[in-house]
Symmetry: C2
Subunit: 316 residues, 2 copies
């Protein structure tokens, strides 16, 4: 467990995830040395002050030189440009990965830019908070969370070895790893993450635009359920802008289903169809029990003590 | 602070809220004695075992006899029937209130059933969890939470005194109290609570029906945002069925606005309008800051340590 899996790791982009990755890799001895590149001087200053890397630089070529693992931790929308910029400087045999929330677009960007002899393995750690920037990171962020890797389906033995090593790297950081087709990843995440964020952004926007209800009232009485949406809708705007555009097809498809279901639900309310409403609400409660049974709450030490999230419950 | 505000309180319905009300009133010495009525023998058994009331009964008349404060803590849909059943047994000068999430319908039910000389003051403590039943209650549930009271606009001095006493009762339990018109309450809550729950129920249902993504996958990767929705959508089905039907007009109105906004957002994604998306997402982030600034998080001791709620954030 103590031998580093990569001699040198380069992290491009030092926000919440990039910073957490550097901290976690160091804490678990997963890499020998860490180079961090970020275009923002203030971010570099914080990364240096926090001691996140052995090298902190604005120069991409310098960061990736001799790196055995290069991880892009930038918004999805700039990944292709970054991948193209570092391509001439990548070490033969290096592994190129990322932490973006969309995988099809990243796989295509890597396919278009990565030189032969580099193992391009898109990745997505499903973990985060609504906070941003290098100071928000922490070494335990990936602990007991899933990281999905989406390598090409057809690969040789050397590529298999690279996938295996990246798998062990994430496991060393405490993550659970699943290998998946990138298109399937994008559909699954459209449902479990992208659509929920879209809906949260939308409802918070709708509430802000109401003329009959003041914004102060909305905030004041947000404990009734709305507050959870404001937290989700506080996530990084640029990151999410890029996700919706990069995963447009899957997001619009799941949004279409959601809208159809919402129309049916709306009609059930309009027509006072009590039985239909109760049946749906009972079914969704079962799904929650499934989430808990699967242990998805286990990494959340506060669950069960956060008693403030939803509306009053009364006996049936 | 130690004198009881009411000699005897009767709580009708001993679920999460009724049970919490009994515990809180006892803990803070807000009432002299407590009678609890519930139609469910198992609930009565638990209430007795937990020592929640001086009297635990299935007989409404017995519970409300001589009570100075009667609080209905049943689903909204049965409140009129319960109010009608207890009407002949209410003590003259007693205060009749409730904890329902819809206030217009309850005000009408009280107006139709409460005898003259009884002060009918609908109320709504905006607090809760997704759990149900007498065992789920706790005395601190209302602490630092808002309770909204919606008494009739036109009232005499005696009625004012009754509203004042009920206000002090909730304050004694740790709540902040606001007096509001019932129609306005129903519109505000449609936005801050009812619509969020409707959306959460809908998205969890949509996810469960997808053929291309298994339910196991949805649960497994629910940390991406979906998990928050499963928690909200785990709230009591009967309670919520009644809320949507009782607050139909305000819910459908806010749902209509939400749907219009969602169509515009959908088009922005389809057309790749990056600036428009970023602008909305930046605005909603500001609203979150408003929620935090208003101290709506202060009653939630775990906030800031729950790092598992949303998607990874990366530097802009």
């Amino acid at each position: 467990m103590t031998d580093p899996l990569y001699d040198k790791m380069a992290v491009i982009g030092c926000g919440l995830i990039g910073s957490s990755l550097a901290r976690a890799a160091r804490a678990h001895g997963a890499v020998g040395s860490i180079a961090i590149a970020d275009p923002d001087a203030h971010v570099r200053e914080r990364a240096t002050a926090l001691g996140l890397g052995d090298l902190v630089t604005g120069d991409l070529a310098e960061a990736v030189a001799d790196a055995d693992l290069v991880v892009l931790a930038t918004p999805v929308g700039v990944m292709e440009a970054v991948a193209a910029a570092i391509a001439p400087h990548l070490k033969p045999g290096a592994t190129l990965s990322d932490v973006g929330s969309v995988k099809g677009a990243v796989a295509q960007a890597f396919a278009r830019t990565a030189p032969a002899g580099v193992f391009a393995i898109p990745g997505h750690p499903i973990a985060g908070t609504e906070l941003s920037g290098p100071d928000a990171g922490f070494a335990e962020l990936f602990h007991n969370r899933w990281t999905v890797l989406t390598p090409p389906a057809v690969r040789d033995a050397a590529f298999d070895t690279a996938v295996d090593r990246l798998t062990r790297f994430w496991q060393r950081l405490g993550a659970k790893v699943e290998v998946m087709d990138d298109r399937h990843h994008d559909l699954v995440l459209a449902v479990t993450s992208h659509l929920p964020h879209l809906i949260a952004y939308n409802i918070v926007g709708t509430a802000a635009d109401l003329e009959e209800v003041t914004q102060a009232e909305v905030m004041k009485f947000s404990a009734g359920g709305f507050r959870d949406f404001t937290r989700i809708a506080a996530s990084d705007p640029v990151m999410w802008r890029d996700i919706f555009i990069a995963n447009k097809d899957a997001v619009l498809e799941t949004l279409g289903r959601f809208t159809e279901d919402l129309q049916a639900l709306s009609r059930a309310i309009r027509w006072g169809e009590a039985d239909k409403l109760q049946e749906l609400f009972t079914r969704t409660r079962e799904i929650r029990r499934g989430v808990i049974a699967l242990g998805q709450e286990s990494a959340e030490p506060n669950f069960g003590r956060d008693r403030s999230g939803s509306e009053p419950d009364k006996p049936a």
